[in-house]
Symmetry: C2
Subunit: 443 residues, 2 copies
């Protein structure tokens, strides 16, 4: 069965992308401001429509098919509407990611090459059941000159449709913005249509469960930016400041447990394990963290009267996303690096040590997007990195790695300015040499 409705939406986005690539930042900014104002002006309608989604969610909650946390994330109230409006305004105010000359190079007299930042084209997104996610993604796409296909969670369908219509209409207030730059798809089958349109969509950014992101990766030829898992570690080295280590390891697990940059495993050097682990376990007990340990961890904690579950092989690879932590005592720095490279998900890792040489060895030896020294893994985040709004966090190594900001939604184009130059002049016996001198210049 061909899903012509979705196909024509994607094709409309593709046509719009070519135009949107050349819309000025002034116009993109004006459209974003119009969107912020429109959302603000229509907040009561949005909240009313959102109530329908929330009611349906509450019925599922009563039926035991839904959690309170999910209902909370679905719900829009005045405070959340404020923060959505602010977010759009802050995206509008970001520096223009487009048009910058990234490199300018003389190849020869009157033959100049420019590498210039341009949008990617058409971005396909599928995201979780938070209606604010729709607004954030649409705003980031517009700021970076990309057309965008939006597919939200069905639980938020009423809210999504309302917000989409407000965004679409408000952007039309600015004449330069091409119709069609933003498209909403709703049916579950539409996702498969989108995954098959690799000739028309340049990048997919799925958000949501690991299982869903894996499904996307396994069913499309379109490049995918995102992450499936965050199995992050803190390694407490033999040279760590142990008082500091207790606080950092606590923050890394407890400050916000459900997110991908929280740790799942704590590694502790054997030289400090006996001193460190009992204090650490007491601290975790304050937050009701369930601990699972290897044999040495369990022995040490048993000596101070604490009974700890046994960590299995499975535990070392599990993203709990919950108040559960596995703990392992390692023989050496190298063992810690090996454990991380074997079990980690290339997301975020941290070493706690006062020995800079050991820190450097860990940081260069661990293969992850972000590697920290004496800091909580929870810092791995676009806002904290100062990237402005965050598009997502990538655990792939191609295109963009770690927290991805607006820059991750751009690519580049080479422009060559000549004066009738022929390659024949630069080939063969009397070949003219290239000068290849970089210069400061904007195309």
């Amino acid at each position: 069965m061909t899903d012509t409705d979705t196909e024509s939406k994607v094709e409309a986005a593709e046509a719009a992308a070519l135009e949107l690539a050349n819309v000025s930042d002034t116009d993109r900014r004006a459209a974003l401001e119009a969107i912020a104002t429109a959302i603000d002006d229509h907040r009561e309608e949005v909240i009313a429509v959102n109530d329908e989604d929330v009611e349906a969610g509450e019925e599922l909650l009563e039926a035991g098919e839904y959690t309170q946390a999910l209902v909370d994330r679905l719900k829009l109230d005045d405070a959340k509407m404020d923060s959505i409006v602010e977010m759009v305004e802050s995206v509008a105010d970001q520096a223009d990611p487009l048009g910058k000359t990234l490199q300018a190079r003389h190849l020869d007299e009157d033959l100049d090459l420019y590498r210039v930042a341009v949008p990617i084209g058409v971005i396909g997104t599928v995201f979780e059941s938070r209606p604010d996610a729709l607004v954030q993604i649409a705003a980031l796409a517009l700021k970076s000159g990309n057309a965008v296909i939006l597919k939200g969670g069905s639980e938020a369908s009423h809210s999504n449709r309302e917000l989409f219509e407000i965004i679409r209409e408000a952007a039309q207030d600015v004449e330069a913005i091409p119709e069609g730059w933003v498209q909403l798809i709703e049916a579950r089958e539409a996702v498969d249509t989108v995954l098959g349109m690799d000739e028309h969509i340049d990048l997919l950014m799925p958000r949501g469960s690991s299982a869903f992101v894996s499904y996307v990766q396994n069913n499309t030829q379109i490049p995918v930016l995102g992450h499936t898992e965050g199995v992050c570690h803190v390694y407490v080295d033999s040279e760590a400041d142990l008082d500091e280590a207790v606080e950092v390891a606590f923050d890394a697990k407890v400050q916000y447990t459900a997110v991908c940059n929280a740790i799942e495993t704590l590694l502790v050097h054997e030289d400090v394990a006996e001193e460190f682990l009992p204090t650490m376990a007491d601290r975790y007990a304050e937050a009701d963290v369930e601990l699972r340990g290897d044999d040495r961890t369990r022995e040490i904690l048993a000596d101070s009267g604490l009974d700890v579950l046994e960590a299995t092989e499975e535990d070392w690879r599990t993203e709990y996303g919950d108040l559960i932590l596995s703990i392992k005592v390692v023989d050496s720095l190298v063992d810690a690096i090996d454990h991380v490279n074997t079990n980690g998900s290339k997301h975020t890792e941290s070493i706690l040590t006062e020995d800079d040489a050991k820190a450097r060895k860990f940081m260069t030896g661990v293969d992850a997007a972000s590697v920290f020294h004496n800091a909580s893994t929870r810092f791995a985040d676009g806002y904290r990195y100062g990237l402005g709004a965050e598009v997502g966090i990538s655990t792939g190594k191609i295109h963009a790695r770690g927290p991805v900001g607006l820059e991750g939604l751009t690519t580049y184009k080479y422009y060559l300015e000549g004066d009738g130059h022929l390659v024949a002049s630069y080939a063969g016996e009397d070949a003219i040499p290239f000068s290849h001198e970089d210069f400061d210049g904007q195309w």
Copy 2:
């Protein structure tokens, strides 16, 4: 059937990649110099072994299953060996693509974030039947700190094996280079094993026929860098310098016909078609270029006594790679842009005009990796762009676009240096604000 031989080669490469990432440029350079010397020293053995491949190729040529051009590309003689040795030396001498701090940013007091260039990891390559391709790819991988899986054409199997062994052994002269960084696979089935190892291989760079590159793209979850087609255009605008245009359009088609950046279609504005086309056709006749035109082209050329074949819809999308050119007369600049965006392969496009505003409209309106003004499309090449050695040309928009140099074989890692910093301090009511100030500094 599991192909354990290929699997263990890929796993060995993966282990080596972690070590190679931290080998100094001095050591990588020394290894490349050792490789250049070893190839030079063993040139006679290489040429002798290559004779076996060439003889087999000549038998296929006699049987009509092979072309002279393919045999020529297979053949290594002293001159080609010289150029291979020089190429390795020139890769050795390139600036180190690794370790550079791309960005340094204070997040807060004693909390500094660095974005540093690192290798991608394990690169899988499959390349055409030119034994020099094996050396080039291995050299570029080593210089950029990546482990590499090499799969060459079976026609060059003897030469490939010999060159691979020389490279592998020579690199071992430098103690810091981990064994296993370079792996040769030979069986056709091994390619499918490689395509399935997305947990172990970070990037695939296939070279060769469009059909083969498509096969790779359609049968792997590993990101693919490369291009399937080069359907490039020159557009001769109404404001073009027509004498110059004749020479540029000739160069773009004829200077080297078989390559991806040669043009397949010439677009001509209707205002100048009558004046331009007869002269252009005469010039192409000197090189025996077969022309295929739309109705207006055929009428104009018929008036000057030239009978031109009719171009079909298929012609507009065909990469001839041969002395054949399709020609279309367009009504306007916008028509030219539309034709390119509909039929081109996002590779390289050129406008010939003395009107800078029209040039800019074409350059920003056309979606291609390289867009030129008054220059031949043949300039789209890593060497001409001054990128040093070229890894390939990408028509994708993600990670690297257009001619790809060593930089395309790198990614980045975020290093954060703290002093026991907790995210809790930057959250909630008394949240410390981030400073987010960029500074000049190397990690």
